[in-house]
């Protein structure tokens, strides 16, 4: 099915564990983004990627690692999860035209709880 999918939808993990959130898109969009959503903060950009093998930091990158070996996949890894990383994580993809983002498509989100 066409679209952008995140997995898992829900995840509970313990402090200190490594956890990877997956994001897959079928449009071959060049740009992909990871956000976290917390009450009172809106959506904050963690990392983004302009193309395969090109990634860059967003507003809140500390404690996270990303990779993009294939255009369609953009996994987000929490190397050693902390309780402050409890959040809802959204992945998005977009094309770019004329130097600006076009409509970004969002996944359904992953609700991560770190205990």
């Amino acid at each position: 099915d066409a679209g952008i999918t995140q997995s898992p939808r829900y995840k509970i993990t313990e402090t200190g564990r490594q956890v990877t959130l997956m994001c897959h898109q079928t449009w071959s969009h060049s740009y992909m983004f990871w956000y976290r959503q917390d009450l009172g903060h809106g959506l904050r950009l963690i990392y983004y990627s302009a193309a395969a093998d090109i990634t860059d930091k967003g507003e809140v990158p500390d404690g996270y690692v990303v990779s993009r070996s294939k255009t369609e996949n953009f996994p987000l890894t929490l190397e050693s999860a902390t309780r402050s990383q409890t959040s809802v994580y959204f992945c998005a993809s977009s094309a770019r035209t004329g130097g600006l983002n076009t409509e970004a498509f969002f996944g359904q989100g992953t609700r991560l709880t770190v205990v």
Partner: protein
């Protein structure tokens, strides 16, 4: 810190009433996007504004980008229960800047 500020943070409106949500940036906006999020779900694109003074409408929702391109407003006419949710503005803050960043969001509740 968040560079896109939205106001109000929350809004409770009686069904049928009009309402306005504002998005303000301290810097010039090169692309301004409005999204809606239903509780517990992903974001849905509403519209994009690029030019100063630009105005777009979709059904009962109208968005404007001011001439200086530092503020946008989202206006809903004759609100309905289906309008309830969280509205977020997103922006490209410089031409060619690849980051798509968002404001703090406005939670809209519609009461019968």
């Amino acid at each position: 810190s968040q560079e896109l500020e939205q106001s109000p943070q929350s809004l409770i409106v009686q069904e049928g009433k009009n309402l306005t949500i504002n998005c303000t940036s301290s810097k010039t906006l090169y692309g301004l996007y409005w999204y809606k999020q239903k509780y517990g779900e992903g974001l849905i694109f509403l519209m994009m504004l690029q030019k100063g003074g630009e105005e777009k409408s979709h059904e009962k929702i109208t968005a404007k980008l001011d001439e200086k391109k530092q503020q946008s407003s989202l206006h809903i006419t004759a609100s309905q229960p289906s309008h309830a949710g969280i509205y977020l503005c997103g922006a490209d803050r410089s031409f060619g800047n690849e980051k798509l960043t968002f404001g703090t969001g406005t939670r809209l509740t519609i009461i019968p």
